[in-house]
Symmetry: C2
Subunit: 152 residues, 2 copies
DNA sequence: TATCATGTAACATCATGTGATACATGATTC
DNA sequence: GAATCATGTATCACATGATGTTACATGATA
């Protein structure tokens, strides 16, 4: 079971962009994220469509923020990624004839539905600005650690 | 991202066993679950270790329930499966140097932690007996649908 | 016009869950 | 006690997706 790390990754990218003046190329972001430039472009496509970021071609081009960090939440970013599945556990079949399976599905569905509501509400409750503020708090306490592209 | 359906599947098996008098072989269960007998044995191993089911070899052998449905919950079964990962979304790195990533991780971790608590609490709140009762309610309303091994 | 960067399509690669096979162990039946 | 049946695993084969890579078209800048 491989976990989808795009949400984590794209938030990382956005916060870095917030610290950086001017556009950043996919190539640079890819190096920072230890991945490929094409993967960055793929991931950012959804954000661009929603107007959270802007991209420019040619010399001096790259990605830059196009939104107010105070108004965009983790939930917005999650949706921009196309609402990828949250849970790693699911039902064997969706609309089973078997009444046993229906009972099992109903119980699991209810539990997961509640958890999903809570998760999405949590996401909506955190703005990018709040994330950035948290980052700056950490920065004050550990000034040695850098903002840049040196990752573990 | 493939979902883990073992919890759904094993609950299905347990409820069927509750309806069935006497042991059921892995072969029969596999046919009902549209899978392989070895997969059934693999999955049941954890339940057996916890004493929720019993297995007997030889003629007339197979699997049978060894617990009170009123005391075993979905949470117990989930743990018997080895607490498989609940979420399909995760952090890019676990203990990053980067303070940006730390801030991102912290926000996501908190959200997922809350959701996990809720999920596990939901699981603990549902006994196998409750599931079975729900099944029987459905059975009364749709007597045509069978208990057996005819699955969609 | 050369270079740079995005935007995508198409393909390669790799991880991993699941199915399949093989065989050892133990229990039952005749 | 020999044959059969069933579990218990180890091991391998296979399918499925996610991710990485290559290639090339498009557009912008110098």
């Amino acid at each position: 079971m491989i976990r989808d790390t795009r949400l984590s990754g794209v938030l990382h990218v956005l916060l870095h962009m917030a610290e950086h003046e001017g556009p950043v190329t996919s190539e640079v972001l890819a190096r920072a994220m230890q991945t490929n430039a094409v993967v960055i472009r793929r991931t950012m496509a959804g954000l661009k469509k929603r107007g959270y970021v802007r991209s420019e071609k040619g010399h001096g081009g790259g990605w830059s923020l196009a939104c107010d960090l105070n108004t965009v939440t983790l939930g917005d970013v999650y949706e921009a990624l196309g609402r990828p599945p949250l849970f790693a556990i699911g039902n064997r079949s969706e609309a089973p004839q078997c009444l046993v399976e229906q009972a099992v599905n109903a119980a699991l569905d209810q539990a997961f539905h509640q958890a999903q509501e809570l998760l999405l509400a949590s996401f909506q409750g955190v703005t990018l600005a709040a994330l950035s503020a948290d980052f700056h708090r950490r920065l004050e306490r550990h000034p040695s650690k850098q903002t840049g592209t040196d990752h573990a």
